[in-house]
């Protein structure tokens, strides 16, 4: 187990290192001069020179990279050029919207997918199975931002159960949850469709195993066998998908936040792009990638905890 952990840790560190190099190169080296890019075509040479100086762009590239990485490790992500505040502060403000939204969507996806997947596997080949599978096909084909618009049309404008957009802040948790509900459903449904399909096929594969027949022979009902024996073993592929989905949800939230005008990381990143605030873009992208790499790492560890065979193999 220790060797496995060590190997995963090294790979985690390497991924972060390469990711930071790629992002740094993309933002600070490829465009040529970030300062004149940020200021646009009409900026005077003095202004550009002043910004170059302030951003430390006159220093050699390796030194700038080191300074950026060391700053991030210490929690200093630089200062936003347009907002004139620390990027870390901006990100923290937006994170309290984006993270709960992604988690809310993840919970919803699991709550929808598990009964659907279980039902389809238990009633394999029958009408219920075909209905669930048909519904998941449509769910996968659904662009979440369009689904979000339909949800707004139905539940915000026609029935007025949920707000159509905006975020009131966490001072009133009930209102905050109401504001996040439609975005979370829009994010969750396509992911739930994928999850339900994976769960169904994993369950069907496990149900073909000998120990399931033994359990049935022991006198357990079909439902009991699925719940106590099959589900537990079918969870491994489900967990992989779940880990991957968290990153999809974070990234998907970038678009959904724009549909609902939620002040999260996604809105921040788009505002930063239109305002050419490269410092914000660079740091937010790095944070998103860090989150994805970290989740992948945690899923790998969870695997090893669930399936001892994986520990031995490496």
């Amino acid at each position: 187990m220790q060797r496995y952990l060590l190997k995963r840790l090294v790979s985690l560190a390497l991924s972060l290192l390469v990711a930071s190099l790629v992002i740094f190169a993309a933002i600070e080296v490829v465009p040529g001069d970030p300062a004149s890019y940020m200021l646009g075509l009409n900026a005077s040479e003095d202004t550009v020179a002043a910004l170059r100086d302030r951003l430390g762009l006159n220093e050699p590239v390796p030194l700038r990279y080191l300074r950026w990485v060391v700053g991030m490790v210490q929690g200093d992500f630089g200062q936003s050029y347009t907002y004139k505040v620390a990027v870390a502060e901006l990100v923290a403000q937006r994170m309290v919207v984006s993270l709960p939204l992604a988690l809310y969507a993840l919970v919803l996806a699991v709550v929808i997918a598990f009964p659907a997947g279980l039902l389809a596997a238990a009633k394999r080949g029958r009408v219920a199975d075909a209905a669930v599978m048909g519904a998941t096909q449509v769910g996968i084909a659904l662009p979440n931002f369009w689904f979000a618009m339909l949800l707004v049309l139905a539940f915000a404008l026609h029935w007025q159960v949920f707000p159509a957009g905006g975020f009131p802040g966490w001072s009133d948790p009930v209102q905050a949850f109401r504001a996040l509900t439609l975005p979370a459903v829009a994010l969750a449904l396509p992911q739930a469709a994928i999850l339900a399909r994976v769960l169904r096929s994993a369950l069907i594969e496990t149900l073909g195993q000998d120990y399931i027949r033994t359990a049935r022979a022991k006198g357990l009902t079909g439902g009991q066998t699925i719940l106590y024996h099959a589900l537990r073993n079918a969870l491994i592929p489900v967990l992989t998908i779940l880990g991957m989905q968290f990153s999809f949800l974070l990234a998907g939230a970038i678009i959904i936040e724009n549909v609902f005008y939620l002040p999260g990381l996604g809105r921040l990143i788009f505002q930063a792009i239109t305002q050419r605030d490269l410092i914000v873009v660079e740091s937010v992208v790095m944070i998103l990638v860090f989150a994805v790499i970290l989740v992948t790492f945690l899923v790998d560890l969870a695997y090893a905890a669930i399936d001892p065979r994986l520990r031995k193999r490496t």
Binding site: A19, M149, I255, I273
Partner: protein
Amino acid sequence: MRLPLLLGLALSAAALLAALVSLFWTPYDVTALAIADKLQPPSPAHWLGTDHFGRDIASMLMAGAQTSLAVALVAVGIGMGLGVPLGLLAAANRGSLIDEVVMRGNDLIFAFPSLVIAILITAVFGPSATNAIIAIGIFNIPVFARVTRGGALSLWTLDYIRAAEVAGKGRIRISAEHILPNILNLLIVQGTIQFSLGILAEAGLSYVGLGAQPPTPSWGRMLAEAQTMVTIAPHVALFPGLAIVLTVLGLNLMGDGLRDHLDPRLRRAA
């Protein structure tokens, strides 16, 4: 052939036909504005109604199909063109440094959600259909590399590959002559899946303004423009969304159906 496969083929063919026909004919000119006819509901003159500029929605959907399919197709081409040779190379030299570098490089691209790659690219080079293609294409590379490597690895243990090796064929020649033809099925199926994902990704990027730019018609951008009018003219938002869902659904059904059809073992099991 089974019903889902037929349905998938029909839907995919319809999207392709719409795109091809739009190359030389659409019911109305998609760039001509007719403000007097704006936001009309579906009628015999305009089957799917008109948008806020009075443009015919059916014509725009046809031209939009062209953008969606072209972006997704080129993105799949990039993914296959680079991913398949990388996967073959990694499998032919299993456990070597090349294998390790290819697989770790893949892990890295997987760590960037495709939307984040697109954002990075557009932040630096500005939004355009070409940059959307590159962003989606980059994400396709590791997918194809992984599928190719997986399929190729299982083949390398087989006797007829060993025989070719003994006969003095090089690893690259074996990969091209024996491995590649035998994993073609896998690649076709994965290609369909990536193609449908590409259409969804293009729609998403165009919706947030990072994809095709005006006046190029695009399903995603039609939805973005429709959003503000969704209360007064829901049909403007309805039809582009339906076009995306039906096309993606068709491609997915076709992919699933082809997999079952091309793999005789699955056909018997089903």
